[in-house]
Symmetry: C2
Subunit: 297 residues, 2 copies
């Protein structure tokens, strides 16, 4: 069994769900891709499980590195409760990464997961080599003290097909974007066996509480970003109505070493609208030498 495992290269569709314990919690996770270099750990959005990642993105990035998906505490088949603060979510993520035995990782966070990724870089900088922040924003970001009116409407509505929620959350109303959305819905359902159960009803309330505490107004809200020295790639759509695109601009302007990419006619899930383009940009970013570090030598 161990022998066959070392020669099988798993994919998003085939990677078995594994479990690891830390802090009295049992974390569900999957790892796959090329097992060399620094692995990339994915941090999921509001009410999502690791099955909501787009295989075009995860498998695309796994061509050159190991990819690790996980459900944080209280999500799906991971045990425990969802904490009501980003700080505790980040502490749980750090415990998970250490429990898997990884001294340093690259961290990708999408939306809520992007807040966790920032806090992880602040609280456990030694764990984080590089950051990718997708469709996310800073503490006290624009429109982040509560769900935006659009987010309240979209998450509050009922859909004939529950998955169609994501067509509204991640894609713009344009025909082009909606077609890309339908392709994404097909891709994230491709994995049939060993899927994670949907989150329990308690999850949304705790996550909203954490989100709104993070988004609440405070003095010098962007000051903490100066402490994130890791090279960072900030990516968003130009029409994000969930965490408005201006927040990506604010992140870039206040992080010491961040590159910003905005994609056209794209809402909150721009990396799912342009998965090949995003994989190329993210791969370039992750494989590039740190220009600053190399300038010092």
């Amino acid at each position: 069994m161990t022998e066959s495992k070392t020669v099988t290269i798993h994919t998003h569709q085939t990677a078995p769900t594994q479990f690891v314990e830390a802090k009295g919690l049992r974390f569900a996770y999957r790892r796959f891709g090329k097992s060399s270099g620094v692995p990339l750990v994915f941090n999921m959005h509001f009410t999502g499980t690791m099955d909501h990642w787009d295989p075009a993105v995860t498998d695309g990035l796994a061509r050159d590195r190991e990819v690790i998906l996980f459900d944080n505490a209280g999500i799906s088949s991971s045990s425990g409760e969802v904490p009501n603060s980003i700080e505790e979510m980040a502490a749980n993520a750090a415990a998970f990464i250490r429990a898997v035995g990884l001294p340093q990782v690259d961290v990708l966070g999408f939306s809520l997961g992007g807040l966790v990724a920032q806090e992880l870089a602040v609280a456990a900088p030694e764990l984080v080599r590089r950051l990718i922040l997708l469709g996310t924003g800073p503490r006290s970001g624009e429109g982040m003290a509560s769900l935006t009116p659009e987010a309240q409407k979209i998450f509050g509505a009922r859909y004939a097909e529950p998955d169609h929620l994501w067509l509204k959350v991640f894609f713009t109303p344009s025909e082009f974007s909606q077609a890309a959305g339908r392709a994404y819905l097909k891709r994230f359902r491709l994995r049939v066996d060993d899927r994670e159960p949907d989150v329990s009803d308690k999850v949304a309330a705790a996550q909203v509480e954490a989100l709104t505490k993070w988004g609440a107004p405070r003095e010098n809200p962007f000051e903490y970003l100066k402490a994130i020295a890791q090279p960072t790639l900030v990516v968003n759509g130009d029409r994000d109505v969930i965490i408005c695109s201006m927040n990506s601009w604010i992140l870039q302007q206040h992080l010491p070493n961040a590159q910003l990419i905005l994609y056209p006619d794209a809402n909150h899930g721009s990396q799912y609208q342009y998965p090949e383009r995003f994989v190329r940009h993210a791969s370039l970013f992750l494989s590039e030498e740190d220009a600053r570090a190399s300038a010092r030598h």
Copy 2:
């Protein structure tokens, strides 16, 4: 002569200066690189000649396409006068492109050249397949009704080495950025033979007049951008003090199909600070299928 020319692949250093006539003007230009696909025409910044392009950028892009540098009317060894409007500069650029016999090109414009590139896409859309806009801004952009205070100070100062002007215009004061600037100064002086003479004293005044007319406040200033249907890549540094970085955000938000990339700790010449990164991003953009066009098939 003709025979040897077809087998020689010229570079930024070796491409001979050629001349072509149109509209009673004689345009100086150079072409080099892989002669297949759609050529990329470079539009130069304030008071620059075609010798101010960075060979790391031009030769980098010329690996996969033909690159065409030229001096617009009244610049260096091109004949005529520098017009006092962007519209006339764009009309001259269009005349040059047609005179070289090219039915359609990709257009790169940097700073003042980025204004010319936008106007070229508006006035002669059939000539332009894709646009790359570097360190530039829209009509009535922020701080564009005159030279910015920083630009006035930088262009008004005297420098022990005249080339050191560009360390201030294109790079931030950080040690990292200044080191990249010194590397750029070496690269753009690598071509020794057959350089273009510096521009005459009259050039700056006419260009400033054109810049300030473009930047003057008007009603619905960004409306014209809706007519630019070409896929566009907008690139800038995050600390541009010559045409402030916010103008790149405005371009992206108002162009129908634009991708924005901002580079960290970079001023007006971010593509010279990160030439390899920029060449990769620009090459990806130019070689990519148009996602919208392919979605229609």
